[in-house]
């Protein structure tokens, strides 16, 4: 167990069309070290990892690997260097057995041009034995629990002499027991000199397994420190930091009377469990929680995209909403999380995207024909209202910037007044300026009496716009805090289960 440096990244910077994803970040991993990489969503973890994987190229900065200056122009190069990545989805072939999966991607051993099964199984067995994994190489993947599949994925990663292992949220879908097993296994990797970069949102876990911790925030490195001596609240402090208080117009927040959107005992499969709350007219209710806490599922259920149990009512009407069409008719609007995939038809024009949800309203009197002129004037007024930067109404939305695309997805719902709106991560991937405009827009809508459910995993953002903050953890509602009486720190503690109501 030497403390020699295996990977050293110096002053790595990366921008994406205007937004800074990484700003002169230093990061290093020693041999046989488990190094946790932490940060809120959008802090730059993924970008850093993708640079290592050869998917992104840094704009500035140096990478040294095993003492040599290196460039990683492609995933292939990254693999040759000995870096191995385990994706959350594992990418195992379910109907292959363990040995076949372990050898997958490498050349299968051959004899007389045919696959040499005996050697294949023997090698797999050796790898499994070396890491003391008690699984038969002939066991089919389908029959293994997710936790054991992770072990196989790790064995596969290390089968071909990987020296640096990157794991993304390895315990997200594991049971407690499996988590314990996996953590002790990861710890044992140190004996083999393998280095591990461990990305996780579960802070207790991180403190248990890692030797050092690096925290990123807003694309900058906040700190790199030894894990022992740290506790969860120290980590959350690093992750949130202190920022200037926002300037926001709160004057017109209406008193909570009528509910615009009400959830009673709502459950969604195994993702959301018996959640009840109401979004009053004229208020912005923030909904936050870690990834996988069930936020998006709750929003999607209300909009009729996925089935649910319990009752969801819009505007106190008890109509059952089973499809997005019914939801829209009941005056509920939904801005989905992934605007390019779920929000926009990229090949269509700004105008066609704007009017899509209510194309029926743009018919010429008593005919089925569309009134394009009315569509254009509606689009023009939205362009003006939201200050969308576009070359006219007929421009394809594909060529708009991320922030302007988001304004289109939002703006299409402003044509009619809705009782309630659900916004799922409405500022994801857009720059600060557009973000401010969207905050103002949301507050303005609330002033006009719309009830807004604002879903975001960015707690500081929620603190900027919401009147009330709800926290989901593992699909359960664990906190309901008025904005004035809470802090980012406290909300984060609810997210991580330090506090519960």
């Amino acid at each position: 167990m030497s403390s020699e440096t295996r990977l050293e990244m110096t002053e790595i910077s990366k921008r994406f069309s205007g937004t800074v994803a990484l700003d002169a970040v230093d990061f290093d991993v020693r041999q046989g070290e488990i190094h946790a990489l932490l940060g809120q969503n959008g802090a730059g973890k993924s970008t850093l990892i993708k640079i290592l994987a050869g998917i992104y190229q840094p704009d500035l900065g140096r990478i040294r690997f095993e003492g040599r200056d290196t460039r990683i122009p492609s995933p292939h190069e990254s693999h040759l260097l000995g870096m191995r990545f385990i994706h959350q989805e594992l990418n195992l072939v379910p109907w292959f057995n363990v040995a076949e999966n372990i050898a997958l991607g490498e050349a299968y051993p051959r004899r007389l041009g045919l696959i040499d099964w005996r050697t294949l199984h023997r090698r797999a067995e050796e790898v499994l034995k070396r890491f003391q994994i008690d699984i038969s190489p002939r066991a089919p993947i389908q029959g293994l629990s997710v936790g054991r599949q992770w072990l196989v994925a790790i064995a596969r990663a290390l089968y071909s002499e990987g020296t640096l292992l990157v794991m993304d949220e390895p315990t997200a879908s594991l049971s407690k027991r499996e988590v314990t097993d996996l953590l002790s296994f990861v710890s044992s990797l140190r004996q083999h000199g393998t280095s591990v970069i461990y990305v996780s949102h579960r802070l207790e876990e991180v403190l248990e397994v890692a030797q050092r911790v690096t925290v990123l925030r807003d694309g900058k490195r906040v700190t790199t420190c030894d894990a022992c001596g740290l506790d969860v609240s120290a980590l959350t402090q690093h992750m949130t930091g202190l920022r200037d208080a926002p300037q926001m117009d709160w004057s017109a927040s209406a008193p909570a009377v009528e509910s615009a959107l009400q959830f009673d005992d709502v459950s969604v499969a195994d993702r959301v469990h018996r959640v009840s709350f109401a979004v009053p007219r004229g208020q912005v209710v923030g909904l936050t929680g870690l990834i996988g806490a069930g936020k998006t599922e709750l929003g999607s259920a209300a909009f009729g995209l996925i089935p649910h149990q319990g009752t969801i009512r819009v505007d106190d009407r008890s109509t059952k909403i089973g499809t997005p069409h019914a939801a829209i008719r009941n005056k509920l609007a939904f801005v989905p999380e992934e605007r390019r995939r779920q929000g926009l038809v990229l090949d269509m024009s700004l105008r066609e995207n704007m009017t899509l949800p209510y194309i029926r309203a743009f018919r010429r009197l008593a005919t089925p024909l569309l009134d394009t002129r009315a569509e254009r004037s509606m689009t023009r007024s939205m362009i003006e209202k939201l200050s969308i930067r576009a070359e006219g109404t007929e421009m394809q939305v594909r060529y708009l910037s991320g922030g302007n695309q988001q304004k289109v997805v939002l703006g299409r719902w402003l044509y009619r007044k809705h009782a309630a709106m659900i916004l799922d991560e409405p500022t994801r991937g857009i720059d600060v300026g557009a973000r401010q405009e969207i905050f103002r827009l949301v507050r303005g809508l609330a002033r006009d009496g719309v009830g807004i459910l604002y879903i975001s995993s960015d707690i500081e953002e929620i603190m900027k716009v919401a009147d009330r903050i709800l926290i989901l953890r593992h699909g359960r509602l664990v906190g309901d805090l008025p904005r004035e009486e809470t802090t980012t720190q406290e909300v984060l503690e609810y997210c991580y289960g330090q506090k519960e109501r």
Binding site: N41, S46, I49, K50, A53, I55, P75, F85, H87, Q88, V166, D168, V199, I291, G292, K295, T296, E297, S300, F303, L305, T323, P324, H325, A327, I328, F334, P336, E337, E338, R341, Q342, G343, L344, V345, L346, D347, M348, E352, T355, L356, P357, I359, R360, F362, R363, P368, L369, L370, Y399, R412, D424, E425, R428, G429
Partner: protein
């Protein structure tokens, strides 16, 4: 759902989109290529047979020849717009022809045609149901339907040609003219105009294109995606049926496999049409253009005296080229 953004998108989804500039260059090549091809053909055939090819009469004859192709290709356009596929159109046309010819001797012609169209409506619904609701791949589902229809056709006719009891008035449809333009050409124009207005000037059409462009976004906008897709298959079914029925008038008989050839020609026409549009999008004017190119080529080759087997080779080549040219622009894998 919901995690994609924060996931490490290793290896596979490195965010690469082809640069818009190279797309545009290749796009304009494909776009003008088809039109240029048409002009070149017109020039060559006119040069070779100046007294026969470039005449008003021959132009009408080309239009007459492509009239049935235009109708069935219009139907296919509706399916392709939504990113679906219908391989049953040829067999469907055959089936409709045999059915209507079999019904003519035993009932009023209008009733026979009505029943045939109703059957085709059902076939279209079944196709749509298989693909949009049961989620069978369009390729497999409609290939199965095509095979079943061929089987039914042979069962019904025992392989024989049906020519008894076809009303002369009905046959006259294929021979007659209105304002000195063949009736079949008028019919094609009517069908294509109807489809064009439906697809480009109504909410139904806007929803169809939205489903084709991004079914997920369409769903999030309150559009019932399965319903739209079923509608596409119904339109294709009805158009195939019309083509099959009119083919009976043209041939004064119905034969097993008579309509099968339309499958290839229709797809070639539609893809040629997509290649002429700016975005590689399927659209009715393009389809008409594609059908025209096919018609001019075949008519010209016949007049010039190119052997018939070469015409097959030409058709196959055109189909592959047209799909390639439009596929350059179309991000959908077909």
């Amino acid at each position: 759902m919901g995690r994609r953004n924060d996931r490490l998108l290793f290896l596979k989804r490195a965010e690469r989109e082809p640069s818009t500039r190279s797309l545009r260059i290749r796009g304009s090549f494909a776009r003008y290529g088809a039109i240029l091809g048409l002009l070149v053909m017109l020039a060559v055939f006119s040069g070779l047979r100046p007294s026969v090819f470039p005449t008003y009469r021959n132009a009408l004859s080309v239009l007459n020849q492509i009239s049935l192709l235009g109708i069935i290709a219009g139907g296919v356009t509706a399916v392709l717009v939504m990113g679906d596929f219908d391989l049953s159109i040829g067999a469907h046309a055959t089936f409709a022809g045999l059915l209507v010819a079999g019904l003519f001797p035993i009932m009023h012609p209008a009733l026979a045609i009505g029943i045939t169209l109703l059957c085709s409506l059902a076939i279209g619904l079944i196709n749509g149901f298989m693909v949009a609701v049961l989620r069978i791949s369009a390729f497999v589902g409609t290939l199965a339907m095509s095979t079943i229809l061929t089987g039914l056709a042979y069962w019904y006719t025992k392989g024989a040609t049906l020519f008894k009891g076809i009303p002369p008035k009905f046959i006259g449809l294929a021979r007659g003219t209105f304002l000195s333009v063949p009736i079949l050409v008028w019919l094609m124009a009517a069908v294509l105009l109807f489809l064009h207005i439906l697809m480009n000037h109504t909410g139904v059409g806007r929803r169809m294109y939205a489903v084709g462009g991004n079914p997920e976004a369409a769903r999030y906008s309150g559009i019932s995606v399965p319903l739209q897709r079923v509608l596409g298959f119904v339109i294709a079914g009805i158009c195939s049926s019309l083509t099959g029925i009119l083919l009976v008038a043209r041939l004064s008989s119905a034969q097993p496999r008579a309509g099968d050839g339309f499958l290839m020609d229709a797809f070639a026409a539609v893809f040629l049409g997509a290649a002429t549009s700016r975005l590689g999008q399927f659209h009715i004017p393009g389809t008409l253009m594609g059908a025209l190119i096919m018609g001019v080529a075949l008519n010209g080759m016949t007049i010039v005296g190119v052997p018939f087997y070469f015409q097959y080779i030409f058709q196959g080549t055109i189909l592959a080229l047209a799909v390639a040219a439009s596929g350059v622009l179309h991000k959908r894998a077909l």
